[in-house]
């Protein structure tokens, strides 16, 4: 294995270097870096041209310039751009912005995509499956820049306008309720009657919920309140237990319910801490939660159910924590909104300049800026994961061991969670590893549309100015990520799949 990894690493480094030569040569040919200098008034022209020529070593042959770049780059110095500015500094801010943008979007796309894929595979050829497939194809065929512009108009400008007087029109309520109903009706297993029941009840529930929210103008000052938090926590406990072990055994359910109860108590007890916490406090609280829930599961599970009780309790605890977190965020919404002219969803950039507020308000500021680009990225990358998960799940569901599982009388839940999901998701992990490599380089269009000065603007500035340094910096990070994650995917695959010889 070690030999395999070492050899793979060696190859990767050469591949990376060879590609860098190609990129460098191309990037010295995109535009004339002296074009703007030539437009200067005569008096200024000569000195400007001289300065740029010297700074970019334009008189040297391309390969000399490449090796100068390379010898600097291996020491971690990516050079200066045409204006003489440090590229490392630019890369640092650009990369952190891009990272901020793609992390949430990728995680969301993976979670939602896999979930929808699983559901659609389990309900193969149902109306739900067909609809999901169709929507996935549409999303897959959307030009991002086009969608982005639409989102800005309708979800930022119009939504912010709407927030000023947050009354939902009856037509809209009806539409949303109907869609919810159709979805729930499609998901539910069972005969015609139970599906109709599900459809009617969920439609009605959604319609009532929306009407109440609309009538109370909840959207202008949203919060969940203790009752909703408590109900959600208990619901989460039951849900996670169902997933992890099923409801037929007591201890895991008890553990989860107690975890939820602790969470509800903490909702009140932690009030002063959560007024304006530091990020560190939140992280600590998360760790404490995991620790406590682990302990609850450990003790309540006993020797027999420990394996199920611990995950049930931990998942419930973290989920409850997340609900409390969301509740806090929502409670700060009104004050945040007021501090940005009552227009919380932003169309451009990564943050409000010089914003000062509580942890929650700053969090909302990031969220308001991330919302639209994340949505756009999720929309179009969702389809890949959905389709892939579905295919992978279907493949596994036709395997003999799944049939065997059913034949020996395992519950559907057990078959799905223990056999189908686990085996079906293995190939997806490799896909994800491979995909993550391309994400850094793939977000550039989104960044452009939403005015994020990140990796994309560094690249395009470089291309516009005929300046190889920013382009190479872009390549080092985005190409490096591809090479690295390709390697990781290969190694992981070799590791997970014993059929591959590690010679």
């Amino acid at each position: 294995m070690l030999v395999f990894i070492a050899r793979r690493l060696f190859v990767s480094i050469w591949v990376f270097l060879a590609a860098s030569v190609l990129v460098f040569i191309l990037s010295t040919n995109v535009r004339d870096p002296l074009a703007e200098a030539r437009q200067l008034p005569e008096t200024a022209r000569e000195s400007a041209i001289r300065v740029i020529t010297e700074r970019m070593h334009l008189e040297d042959p391309v390969l000399v310039r490449y090796f100068r770049w390379l010898s600097d780059a291996v020491t971690g110095n990516l050079g200066v751009n045409r204006q003489g500015l440090d590229v490392n500094a630019r890369l640092e801010t650009a990369f952190s912005a891009t990272l901020q943008l793609i992390t949430g979007a990728t995680v969301l796309a993976i979670i939602i995509g896999i979930t929808i894929g699983v559901i659609s595979a389990l309900r193969q050829y149902s109306a739900l499956d067909q609809t999901v497939t169709f929507i996935a194809f549409v999303c897959f065929s959307l030009p991002l820049f086009w969608v982005g512009t639409l989102l800005k108009q309708f979800l930022a400008l119009d939504f912010n306008d709407w927030l000023a007087d947050p009354v939902i029109s009856p037509l809209f309520i009806g539409g949303i309720a109907l869609i919810t109903g159709l979805f729930c009706g499609g998901v539910v297993v069972g005969d015609r009657r139970s599906r109709i029941t599900a459809f009617v009840s969920s439609t009605a529930a959604m319609a009532i919920l929306l009407s109440v929210l609309s009538a109370t103008e909840w959207f202008s000052d949203p919060s969940l309140g203790p009752i909703v938090v408590a109900l959600t926590a208990i619901g989460g406990a039951i849900g996670f237990t169902t997933l992890v072990s099923g409801l037929e055994w007591k201890p895991p359910l008890q553990a989860a319910l107690i975890a939820a109860a602790v969470g509800i108590v903490a909702y009140f007890a932690l009030d002063p801490v959560l007024d304006d916490p530091q990020l560190l406090t939140i992280v600590l609280l998360l760790l404490v939660t995991v620790g406590i829930c682990f302990a609850i599961g450990w003790f309540l599970g006993g020797d027999l159910y420990r394996r199920n009780a611990i995950p049930a309790a931990v998942l419930t605890g973290v989920f409850t924590g997340a609900v409390i977190f969301v509740d806090r965020m929502l409670s700060s919404f009104q004050s945040y909104s007021a501090s940005v002219n009552n227009r919380p969803i932003s169309t451009v950039g990564a943050e409000t300049p010089n914003y000062e507020g509580t942890f929650w308000e700053s969090g909302l500021d990031s969220f308001g800026h991330l919302a639209l680009p994340t949505l756009a990225l999720v929309l179009i990358s969702l389809a890949t994961y959905t389709r892939y998960t579905r295919a992978s799940m279907l493949e596994v569901m036709n395997q003999d061991y799944v049939r065997t599982g059913r034949a020996k009388g395992l519950s559907e839940r057990a078959v799905v969670t223990r056999h189908v999901l686990r085996n079906g998701l293995i190939p997806i992990t490799t896909l994800i590893a491979y995909d993550i490599g391309t994400i850094v380089g793939g977000a550039v269009v989104t960044e452009q549309v939403f005015g994020w000065s990140a990796m994309g603007s560094m690249l395009f500035d470089g291309i516009r100015e005929g300046d190889p340094m920013p382009i190479m910096a872009f390549y080092v990070v985005s190409g490096g990520a591809i090479v690295l994650f390709n390697m990781v995917a290969d190694i992981a695959y070799a590791f997970l799949d014993p059929r591959i010889r590690l010679s």
Partner: protein
């Protein structure tokens, strides 16, 4: 390195072994029956039929309306003809008058007019033609290059494979938009065809990997062994025995390459690194009128609708073909 064992749409799995067995027995009869099977499966795929229909509509509409080259079209305005701006708004109406609409008619300028009075319907059709042309050229070039490289690497193995696959790895290491953007800003000034050719030369890696994987398994088959043992030349084996059996995967990849090329081209043109004026393309038009969304929305919407129509229809066709051929692969959007 090997990463070809990937899941596939399992719903058609039962049919495939039959086809594969048939291949092994006799060539002529089996070839036909396999073709029939594929056709039948394809035409049973509702999505594929829908895609086929939509694609034909787009192609026929764009070519017949303003014509192509010397062939005249039925639409009386050309995409280059400037004129007086008459309000600029679209005159297309689809709501019949008895429903309170303006009646079903195209009017003088169905999609409205642009800044300098050109007919936007004609312009959109021109953009559709260019985008389609680029996508198809990119699809063909990348498939050709990818197939040759993948087949050679998979068949010859040894140092040839090492070299070719390292070259592929090098191309993969460069993000699509980076290499396409660099190529675009170097060659896009010199015409649309050259731009499409070069774009195709950057985007073949996916296909090369898939074809290589397929060839790797096909070359171990008995009939290839047999051909080799009677001294058939390598070229003949590849072209007569291996590639025909890898055709499914090649055709499907080519289709999906076209779909992704439409989106790549439009993204590049949107970023001003693709098609340059006076040429136009759908992405170019969206870029030109991205600020028109609230004031002259028709200038922004129509090109987008056609991009989606092309990408969507080709994706559906690809999906249908994949189900029909049942190749063991899945798509990855880059």
């Amino acid at each position: 390195m090997t990463r070809n064992a990937q899941p596939a749409g399992a719903e058609t799995a039962p049919a495939a072994p039959g086809a594969a067995n048939a291949t092994a027995h006799g060539l002529t009869i089996v070839a036909r029956s396999q073709g029939q099977l594929i056709r039948r499966r394809f035409f049973r795929h509702r999505g594929a039929l829908f895609g086929m229909f939509l694609f034909l509509v787009v192609v026929v509409l764009s070519i017949s309306s303003i014509g192509l080259g010397p062939i005249p079209g039925w639409w009386d305005k050309s995409p280059t003809e400037t004129g007086t701006v008459t309000g600029g708004g679209p005159t297309l109406s689809v709501l019949p008058s008895f429903l309170g609409g303006g009646g079903v008619h195209l009017g003088e300028h169905p999609f409205g007019q642009d800044n300098i009075g050109r007919d936007y319907f004609a312009l959109t059709m021109r953009g559709t033609q260019v985008s389609l042309m680029i996508a198809i050229v990119v699809g063909l070039v990348s498939t050709l290059v990818g197939t040759i490289i993948g087949a050679a690497a998979g068949y010859f193995r040894g140092w040839i494979e090492s070299v070719l696959m390292r070259v592929t790895d090098v191309m993969i290491a460069i993000p699509t938009l980076l290499i396409a953007g660099l190529i675009g800003s170097i060659v896009a000034d010199r015409g649309v065809v050259l731009f499409a050719l070069f774009l195709g030369l950057c985007l073949w890696t996916q296909i090369a990997r898939l074809v290589r994987g397929e060839v790797l398994s096909l070359r171990e088959k008995e009939y290839v062994e047999a051909a080799r043992s009677v001294g058939t030349s390598a070229g003949r084996i590849i072209f007569k025995h291996i590639l025909p059996n890898a055709m499914g995967i090649i055709i499907v990849s080519a289709t999906l390459a076209i779909a992704s090329a439409v989106l790549t081209e439009s993204a590049l043109s949107f970023l001003d690194l693709g098609v340059q004026p006076p040429d136009t393309s759908l992405g170019r038009q969206i870029n030109d009128y991205r600020t028109a969304l609230t004031v002259r929305p028709w200038l922004f919407y129509w090109p987008g609708v056609f991009i989606i129509a092309i990408a969507l229809s080709v994706n559906f066709i690809g999906d249908g073909l994949r189900d029909a051929f049942d190749p063991r692969q899945t798509r990855v959007r880059d």
